[in-house]
């Protein structure tokens, strides 16, 4: 584990070092190039803003109205009947939609059930093994102005579902 942590920590500084050394060796104006590339970052961030804001407001309205909670309560009996641990259902449903909400839920589950309980381990695995599909699609497609996303959302959400089912199976099997 410590080896992996060391790699994670050193990969960015080492990458920057290599880039700068190669650039200097090739006699490139490194600082000017940096500024030129950085400028693109500003326009890119600004162009993402409306997409991100629109999605974030919609998700927050759905959550704060209580509609999302009501839906989760409605669907929980069905999913626990299928063998899903009921405590984990809300996390599974929120994970692809909202990253911050999912992280808050994972923290809460670990806090109440303990990090080394079945639920604690399952929540940890689920949090780590999938990403916030809706956020990624919003940011990436928004940045380049794609309007028709075709089957991208279907692929992302179905893969999330499989990832969640896989987490339940793997965690019950290993621990």
């Amino acid at each position: 584990m410590s080896i992996i942590t060391t790699i994670s920590l050193s990969i960015i500084p080492l990458f920057i070092l290599i880039v700068l050394l190669v650039a200097t060796w090739k006699r490139l104006p490194a600082y000017e190039l940096f500024v030129e590339g950085g400028k693109e970052g500003i326009t890119l961030a600004i162009s993402i803003l409306p997409f991100l804001l629109g999605m974030l407001v919609a998700i927050t309205v759905l959550r704060s109205s209580g509609a999302l909670d009501a839906f989760i309560q409605l669907i929980t009996p069905l999913l626990s009947w299928l063998g899903f641990p009921p405590d984990i259902v809300p996390l599974g449903l929120i994970r692809p939609v909202s990253g911050t909400a999912a992280l808050a839920m994972t923290t809460e589950l670990i806090q109440t059930h303990g990090p080394d309980s079945f639920i604690g381990r399952l929540a940890s695995t689920m949090q780590g093994s999938t990403d916030t599909t809706l956020y990624i699609l919003t940011i990436y497609f928004g940045a380049i102005g794609i309007k028709r996303i075709r089957y991208a959302l279907k692929v992302g959400l179905l893969a999330d579902l499989i990832g969640i089912i896989a987490s339940v199976i793997v965690v019950s099997w290993i621990f």
């Binding site: 590339g37 970052g41 993402i48 759905l62 109205s65 209580g66 604690g120 780590g128 499989i162 290993i174």
Partner: protein
């Protein structure tokens, strides 16, 4: 599709709030989340400026090209539509590497840059290309091998083995990534057959 989902989320939320008596919360949520979006973009802007700056140097120094020729066999399998030796492959690889090591801050700028490069190769500019969807399928399925945030939370609540979930996370990630790629292929071929 996105239009319908977005409208549905807002309409259902507001109508539910009308009957549930949570209009006050909804009111507050609208302005708070709009605020939150601004601070998110500012955070994103800082990493975007830094990483796009560094990556511009890397591109001109032909480091991205060297990287892409090394992994060419794998990438051409995954992204058959992308031309060989195009800088986009370097950006895709940088994004994947950053994701694997849990460096989300670096992964997003490189991912956006990869999307931009794919957009220059895209024939109809408002429609997602096949490569873009494959790339996002990879990204949404996680790719993270070291879940640093989760480990930190587990430590905070005094887990006896905070890192014991790394193994299960890797297995679950591999399963969801492979499924994402298979689903991507399935839906792509289905859309081709339909035409």
């Amino acid at each position: 599709m996105v239009n319908v989902i977005w409208v549905m989320m807002l309409v259902i939320g507001i109508i539910y709030a009308l009957f549930n008596g949570t209009l006050e919360e909804v009111n507050q949520a609208i302005f708070e989340s709009a605020d939150q979006a601004i601070s998110l973009v500012i955070q994103l802007m800082s990493v975007l400026i830094f990483w796009l700056g560094i990556m511009k140097i890397a591109e001109r120094a032909h480091i991205l090209k060297a990287l892409s020729s090394f992994f060419r066999p794998l990438i051409t399998r995954l992204f058959p539509e992308l031309p060989r030796d195009h800088p986009v492959i370097g950006y895709i690889l940088s994004n994947i590497t950053a994701n694997i090591f849990g460096l989300g801050n670096a992964a997003t700028p490189m991912g956006i840059k990869a999307m931009e490069e794919m957009q220059t190769l895209n024939q109809s500019k408002d429609t997602a290309s096949r490569s873009m969807i494959t790339f996002l399928a990879l990204n949404t399925s996680g790719l993270t091998l070291i879940p640093t945030t989760v480990i930190a939370i587990r430590m905070q609540y005094e887990s006896t083995a905070p890192t014991e979930i790394v193994g299960t996370t890797i297995i679950a990630t591999v399963i969801s990534t492979i499924s994402a790629l298979l689903l991507d292929r399935f839906f792509y071929y289905r859309s081709v057959w339909r035409k």
